[in-house]
Amino acid sequence: MNNDGFDQFKGSSDYVTSEPLRNAVNVSIALGRPLLIRGEPGTGKTLLAHSIAHGLRKKLIIWNIKSTTKAQEGLYVYDTVQRLNDSRFGDRDVSDIKQYIKLGKLGQAFASPEQVVLLIDEIDKADIEFPNDLLNELDEMSFYIPETNETITAIHWPIAVITSNAEKELPDAFLRRCIFHYIEFPDANLMEEIVRVHFPDIKNSLLHEALKAFYSLREIDEFRKKPSTSELIDWIRALIAGGVAHEKISSEIPFIGTLLKKETDYDYFVNNHMTRIGDTFFTRWRR
């Protein structure tokens, strides 16, 4: 057995990866098993799939999971409404059912002539049975369409990246088949690198002050939603655009609304951690 032939993910210029994460990606590719990625919001789970597709120059197929998503939709849907419509008003041959079968995201990934990266984003949003319902198809890499008596078999198995916020526990049977990696919330050093990807010319003083304030905010447990990477990046964008002096960053936290998106969190912070002096609110953090 030889694995020299398979594509290796080495990263991409717009995404900061760690070595364990790259290794997990490559193991999942080598073994043809789905890669399950978990981590707090904003830790780059979704972006990873983009980076893999970009780095390996493969097409990315994205299946966004919602609470109402059913496993079946990923395989194919039978557009009965169109068919009904055609039978009444159209001139198409409605006995040709094939034209009303539309492949879902998984179906498209199987049918693609080239290997693709398939992102199943936020699988934990779906019903608890959802992952189990997909097991068979992912194992066999094929499924049957009774309406047309067709079997869709994967030409290449897709590189499957599945993300989860761990809102719900996933079924054991499903977990056993996955390669798993937990993306830790980046520490300040790693975050610096991530920020620099987005703002290559950022001044050190501004970056350091912003990170200091950001990590202090993340210490507060009462927030419904702690600020994450995406909020940090939006905030820094605002700080740069607003030409804010770096001394003010920690003491006033300008544009704090970009960091604390929930009104309750915003109110909580202003009421409990800030003091009003004149027209300006100052943080009560000792400088």
């Binding site: 057995m1 030889n2 694995n3 020299d4 398979f6 290796q8 080495k10 990263g11 991409s12 210029s13 995404y15 900061v16 990866t17 760690s18 070595e19 364990p20 790259r22 290794n23 997990a24 490559n26 193991v27 999942s28 080598a30 073994l31 098993r33 399950l36 978990r38 780095g55 609470s67 109402t68 009965t80 409404v81 068919r83 009904l84 009444r88 019903d127 761990a166 809102e167 719900k168 526990e169 977990l175 056993r176 088949r177 996955c178 390669i179 798993f180 990696h181 937990y182 980046p186 050093n189 790693l190 690198e193 991530i194 990807v197 447990d221 009462e222 927030f223 419904r224």
Partner: protein, 394 residues
């Protein structure tokens, strides 16, 4: 024989340290090793973790097992040699058919070992292509540290640390679910308090299903109903504060923080008491703002999920007697036990979370209260079990 010992010992060590590894996953690891996925122990550390461990809650267990198993082999060269030696073992290159794998899944571990030993005997006679692994040394496809092609970002960890050191750091200690709690973890556990599609009346029009059914019905309208997808769970938290609960004040405030900041409940109410519940509950920790327990029971719907927090430890008369309240001025007309009984009868789902270690639960009042409410230890695991209890269908 040394090889098989080494092979099985690691599996045993993981199990002993409570990493829930299944044989399926162990086989997958073997498959990965057979494919030459690694060339040194550092890579092995991450490879085995990615395949065998399916939750960050077990990363620390894994680190403990890894240290224990590989300790004493500090010099990197030695480690690599030893691990490579091990990996060369014929078992590791064995690939199983699906049927074999299914069979193995059903076998218990002892049987599995026997099976391996049998296979090992069968294979010892065979030529061992020794160069297989060593030949790959340094050219493993798995992104060596220091491999730095232009335009690629490699972030994070400081270079030059080795797997054992990484394991020794035990940086995932706080993610364990069987040690102390933090707010984030409690919140995660409380997320289990959900009741979505499977419960409640079918009272929402399912437009998609309706269109589908109507279409299949050749245009004859057929209405399809579904259950609401919003979380229907309402939570009532009653907490014992002060006195013997003092040492657990932080823990309780964390539980409160977590419940309070959990946005997914339909409603969240909380009250305080001291030692036992009597005629009144309190809206504040200082127990100044009283609300009558009777009023509460008359106004709160029985489908509130009730979480009681307390050590349930008091003098028997505090629980059993009229005017038994530790606070003399409470002058409770009704004994605490009667109130507790009314409460447990009122709510369809209730649990008692006890911060004390279960080893000291054998105590008269703890036992009596434990008969009225299912009691769980206030740890993440205990909370998890309590949450399950709170959402069982009745």
């Amino acid at each position: 024989m040394a090889k098989i010992d080494m092979f099985t010992d690691f599996f045993y060590t993981l199990r002993k340290r409570k990493v829930p590894v299944s044989t399926t996953e162990w086989m997958t690891l073997m498959e990965a090793l057979a494919k030459g996925c690694i060339s040194n122990l550092d890579e092995f550390y991450y490879l085995a973790r990615a395949i065998l461990v399916k939750s960050e809650a077990y990363y620390d267990h894994y680190d403990v097992a890894f240290q224990e198993y590989f300790k004493g082999i500090e010099a990197p060269a030695e480690i690599s040699e030893q691990i490579l030696e091990w990996l060369k073992g014929p078992l590791n290159r064995m690939t199983l058919t699906e049927e074999e794998q299914a069979l193995l899944d059903r076998m218990d571990f002892e049987e599995l070992i026997k099976e391996f030993e049998k296979r090992l005997k069968e294979q010892t006679e065979q030529h061992n292509g020794g160069g297989y692994w060593i030949g790959r040394g340094g050219t493993s496809p798995f992104g060596h540290s220091g491999y730095h092609p232009a335009g690629i970002r490699i972030g994070g960890e400081s270079r030059g640390r080795h797997a054992i050191q990484i394991a020794q750091e035990r940086r995932f200690r706080n993610y364990r679910s069987d040690l102390t709690l933090d707010v984030r973890q409690i919140k995660m556990a409380l997320r289990g308090l959900r009741e979505l599609s499977r419960i409640g009346p079918e009272d929402e029009l399912d437009l998609e299903e309706t269109i589908d059914a109507t279409a299949k019905n050749a245009g004859e309208i057929e209405l399809m109903w579904t259950r609401s997808r919003k979380n229907a769970v309402k939570v009532l938290l009653l907490m014992d504060v002060g006195g013997s609960m003092e040492p657990f004040a932080l823990l309780c405030s964390q539980l409160f923080s977590a419940a309070h900041s959990s946005s997914h409940f339909k409603d969240f109410q909380y009250f305080y008491f001291h030692n036992c519940i009597y005629d009144n509950l309190y809206q504040d920790i200082e127990r100044q703002e009283a609300i009558s327990t009777d009023y509460l029971l008359r106004t709160m719907e029985p489908d509130y999920k009730l979480l009681l927090v307390g050590d349930a430890r008091m003098s028997p008369w505090e629980l059993m007697e009229r005017y038994g309240a530790i606070n003399y001025y409470e002058r409770n007309e009704t004994p605490g036990i009667v109130w507790l009984k009314r409460i447990t009868e009122h709510f369809t789902h209730s649990v008692w979370l006890n911060p004390d270690n279960p080893s000291i639960w054998p105590h008269p009042t703890v036992q009596m209260i434990g008969k009225l409410f299912p009691m769980f230890e206030l740890t993440l695991d205990g909370l998890g079990q309590a949450v399950k209890k709170l959402i069982v269908k009745k």
